[in-house]
Subunit: 250 residues, 2 copies
């Protein structure tokens, strides 16, 4: 079945009505700066499961994720792979100053990117402080997230890893939906078991077993394989091994 593609109208190129206008790399731009960005931008869409780019390939744009979920991952020669980033709406893809992709990028759901041609975008970083500042801020946030993840990968048990992943997805979901609370009670997992395993440095069997265990213990309630209910968010946080009240720096 051909995926029912973009939910947003690709011809509605008006940044003003863009769902990520105030969180993406363009967040700080003034009207005139936005106009400049509009001139170098174009949209691309990818179907769920499709590769966006492979590590080492030429990538002559940078982009904001408008909708959908993509993953960044690294693969060793023998096939072991580790996911190193999860790109949700408003996240930035690509590295200014580098013309090839550093990681494999895969669309895990249908994805819409707002792409900027690399050269003019790099020029804009030099000329438009609002873009450079926002990009620095976003990069620092990603660095914090990567370091938080290093703790997960290096020191947490399988059960804590699963709980941490669910907590992170729930938090980001809540943020996107502009939920008032810190969490949602029901969410759709954007990842397959295999992606979860690659993110957590586990095998799919272990992921499956630990999810079953959390379900048995009443920490989560499954509705089908992809939808998760979290009856008590604090209970879940407790399972992550983190301080109850912190976890995410910010």
């Amino acid at each position: 079945m051909p995926a029912l593609l973009p939910e947003i109208d690709l011809d509605a190129r008006d940044c003003q009505s863009c769902p990520i206008r105030h969180r993406a790399v363009c967040a700080r731009c003034e009207a005139d700066e936005l106009e400049h960005l509009e001139q170098i931008k174009y949209y691309r869409t990818y179907e769920a499961g499709q590769p966006v780019v492979w590590a080492g390939d030429k990538l002559d744009f940078v982009a904001s994720v408008v909708s959908g979920v993509a993953t960044l991952s690294q693969t060793m020669e023998d096939g072991r792979t580790q996911m190193v980033g999860l790109l949700l709406p408003s996240d930035f893809l690509g590295r200014p100053g580098r013309s090839t992709a550093s990681y494999d990028v895969t669309a895990v759901s249908n994805v819409t990117l707002c792409c900027f041609r690399r050269k003019p975008f790099e020029e804009m970083i030099r000329s438009t402080p609002h873009v450079a500042q926002r990009l620095l801020e976003m990069t620092l946030d990603e660095l914090d997230a990567a370091r938080e993840w290093m703790l997960v990968l290096g020191r947490k048990t399988a059960r804590e890893k699963i709980a941490s992943l669910l907590a992170i997805i729930a938090r980001r979901e809540a943020l996107l939906n502009l939920d008032p609370g810190r969490s949602v009670t029901r969410m759709e997992l954007p990842l397959t078991r295999e992606s979860m395993a690659d993110y957590l440095g586990l095998t799919i069997e272990t992921v499956s077993r630990q999810i079953s265990a959390l379900r048995r213990d009443g920490v989560i309630v499954l509705e089908g394989k992809r939808t998760v209910q979290i009856p008590d968010f604090d209970r879940l946080l407790n399972e992550t091994g983190d301080d109850m009240d912190g976890g995410v720096l910010i």
Copy 2:
């Protein structure tokens, strides 16, 4: 014994003769910008083993490491700790826009920092594109390093982890010494076994065993506990599990 502290003269505050002048956050500054930086900078030194700051504490400066080695680490309530960064000379410490430390920072050797008062430095980021650009570049490099490390933590065996750590230290050492080749054959480990374990997500026993194994197999030669000779750098790279010719991006 009171440590024989700074090797550089703290009164020689001239940026022009600074050993990290062309690699630190100030690398791109023009003479006049450097003068501005000089006005907001001061030096601090820490003895080996001393904490620089604890996570959550107030930190009203950002800084460049001038000499020595410091670590960034996170600790869980039950004591499990994970190192999330290694600060070598020219590396940047602190996050503009944040007034508290996100991680525990510890001097593992005698360390000299070139500190900038936070407020004026933040102002400079806004007013001096050369500083903001360099900081963005350095942050992107750190993000790449953190992601490379995620692969190490999530997917590599203990032996591969040790080899990866040695390779990274050797590479950075070579860079600092401006060695022509890609590697040095002899180096001083800046870390104790415990720090290595915290970096690699292992126990000290496993670190010790794997180092012994690499020695037995002739991959490394130990001179005392802290000095390592690498007779064949490609052999070591082979043990990391990475592509022989890549490993580090860029």
